[in-house]
């Protein structure tokens, strides 16, 4: 699918990572002992594997304003006994994250950070194929299809602060940050918006997270993450892909809205 | 008389049916877990409406035990119910005819673990779960201090 013409575009955006993900009801007949069979589905493109801690279920729900509760975690015991597995590409710039109720596809900058972003349209095409492959596998265990209950698209940006001695210079890049005479040592800010349909029903949440951070090379950056998360209109893969497409549009438009004209110039905005 | 085999689908699962071998006066027993006990605002305890829920999934019904079949097998019904593990706190009883008059089906669904297992199928509306079924039930093995239902209180 070609890139929509009306989306903002940049020659050299500070994009560092993109993640597309779905959460689904654990399927009948699947147990962790079968994870090798899942890896085999993708091993040709993702020949390395790493085991990491699992992610708990996540749901966006709507009603009262939830200010102040960002990041509240609960832990129920016993946690399901399935790790999260990273299936990693040869160049390590793409990976699939799999656990019994999740599949995610990440692209990220690696090495000297010159690897080019393959673009959302290429990524989502791959992700859709991966979802259908996984669904076909699960349907071989029992008659079933994926029941997707949550989708998420994240854009993670690393904005280099040219004057790392002055944290306040973050306001040169982000138009919602204004320190004026203040000289903070660090900052972190998260805010969220509920996105509504034309019928005034909540579609999902757009989450903006900014934090001052250090890269592995000790460079000071502002990490700006835009995430759109919620339940798709249906539980099938088509509905999930529609949701992710919509989320991409929101995230890219929001990125332009919250960054400054100076930033746009630096990043070579073309539209 | 042993019940005739129930109808099954292509996967061998029992399909909803009303078994003619289950007589109108036959006792239909539902085991009750202590997990279903809730507390009213005046401190009285009763059963949650979820105790009258069918299970989900294809052909999901409300699991029961067929009293006449248990007794025909020469077993004491109360003792039979007490041999389940974990033990249930109590049990309630319906009459099959009363369930049928409420437009429900009472069927036979023998399991490897329970040869006298039955199911109740039908349209489990809010009214059915919260009013009708609790109203039709009596204690078979009573849980002390717990009511099956309470009369709806005046709300103001």
């Amino acid at each position: 699918m070609p890139r929509p013409d009306d989306l903002p575009d940049f020659k050299t955006p500070p994009l560092y990572e993109v993640a597309l993900g779905v959460q689904f009801t654990p399927t009948t007949g699947y147990q962790q002992v079968r994870v090798g069979e899942v890896w085999a589905l993708f091993r040709e493109d993702f020949p390395s594997v790493q085991e990491v801690a699992p992610l708990p279920p996540t749901f966006e729900t709507f009603g009262l304003p939830q200010g102040g509760r960002v990041g509240t975690q609960i832990n129920l015991r016993p946690m399901p006994g399935h790790s999260r597995y990273w299936f990693i590409s040869p160049s390590e710039d793409e990976l699939l994250q799999f656990q019994q109720d999740r599949l995610l596809h990440n692209w990220r900058k690696v090495g000297d950070k010159t690897n080019e972003y393959p673009r959302f349209d290429a990524l989502i095409e791959k992700f859709e194929k991966e979802l259908r492959t996984l669904e076909t596998y699960f349907s071989s265990l029992a008659p079933q299809s994926l029941k997707i209950n949550q989708c998420e698209v994240s854009y993670i940006n690393h904005i280099e602060i040219e004057n790392s001695a002055s944290v306040a210079s973050a306001q040169d890049w982000l138009n919602f940050v204004r320190f004026d005479q203040l000289q903070p040592d660090d900052f972190a800010m998260t805010f969220r918006r509920v996105i509504f349909s034309p019928e005034d029903k909540p579609l999902g949440r757009l989450i903006y997270e900014t934090v001052l951070a250090l890269t592995e090379n000790n460079e000071t950056i502002v990490q700006l993450t835009l995430t759109f998360r919620g339940a798709p209109a249906g539980t099938d893969i088509n509905a999930a892909i529609d949701f992710l497409q919509y989320g991409r549009r929101l995230a890219v438009q929001s990125f332009k809205e919250i960054t400054t004209d100076m930033a746009h110039q630096k990043w070579g905005m073309v539209s | 008389m042993p019940l005739s085999p129930p109808p099954r689908d292509a996967h061998g699962k029992v399909m909803p049916h009303d078994h003619q071998g289950i007589g109108s006066a036959d006792g239909i027993i539902r085991r009750i877990s202590e997990q279903w006990i809730i507390t009213e605002p005046d401190g009285r305890k009763r059963l949650s409406s979820i105790a009258f829920n069918p299970s989900s999934g294809p052909h999901g019904g409300m699991s029961v035990d067929l009293q006449a079949q248990i007794e025909e097998a020469g077993l004491n019904c109360r003792e039979f119910l007490s041999t389940t593990s974990p033990q249930c706190a109590g049990s309630i009883r319906f009459e099959a005819g009363a369930l049928r008059r409420a437009s429900l089906q009472v069927g036979f669904d023998p399991l490897l673990s329970n040869a006298h297992h039955g199911e109740v199928w039908g349209n489990f509306t809010d009214s059915m779960k919260k009013r009708t079924l609790p109203g039709l039930a009596t204690w078979f093995v009573e849980i002390e201090g717990v009511a099956i239902s309470v009369r709806p209180r005046p709300l103001s």
Partner: protein, 161 residues
């Protein structure tokens, strides 16, 4: 969900960095933001996700983790800090029901699966049979119901003598 490799500068900030081990000691709450109901709810959910197979005397299974987490999401969306703690009961198929039984009425939320909730309430406005509706992830109606049941009844203004 990210695979990004950054460290937070100067002080700890919640991170979604997939490479960090975010496992906290099991059974401990992180924060409760003044929600009095939270700790008893988490305790109850921990009981329900650990129910033995056949707990109901038939084929009952434990409440599923996804339903338990979704239940907390519902309560976060519906309940203010000092709202009454609900009672929570398990269904036989991994489902659960959140219930409030108060002087002014009752609310029952049957969570069949995430985004599949049968909500029912009864109060002086609904009549004897109550009112039910199917909800997915928008619990604005339930916020209203809880408010109706917990707000003090206004005293009638005495007629001037």
């Amino acid at each position: 969900m990210t695979a990004a490799q950054v460290r937070r500068r100067f002080r700890f900030v919640k991170t979604d960095d997939a490479s960090e081990n975010r496992m906290t000691p099991v059974g401990y709450l992180m924060t409760n933001f003044g929600q009095k109901w939270r700790e008893p709810v988490i305790k109850r959910l921990n009981e329900l996700v650990a129910l033995q197979s056949g707990w109901d005397g038939y084929d009952g299974i434990a409440v599923t983790f996804e339903n338990a987490y979704f239940a907390v999401g519902i309560l976060d969306a519906c309940c203010r800090g000092d709202d009454p703690t609900p009672q929570i009961v398990p269904g036989a198929s991994g489902d659960l029901q959140i219930e409030w039984h108060l002087e002014k009425g009752d609310i029952e939320l049957h969570i069949v699966a995430p985004n599949d909730v049968h909500a029912w309430h009864v109060d002086v406005n609904t009549g004897f049979e109550g009112e039910g509706m199917l909800l997915t992830n928008d619990f604005t109606a339930v916020v209203r119901w809880i408010k109706n049941l917990t707000e003090p009844t206004r005293a009638t203004v005495p007629a001037a003598s």
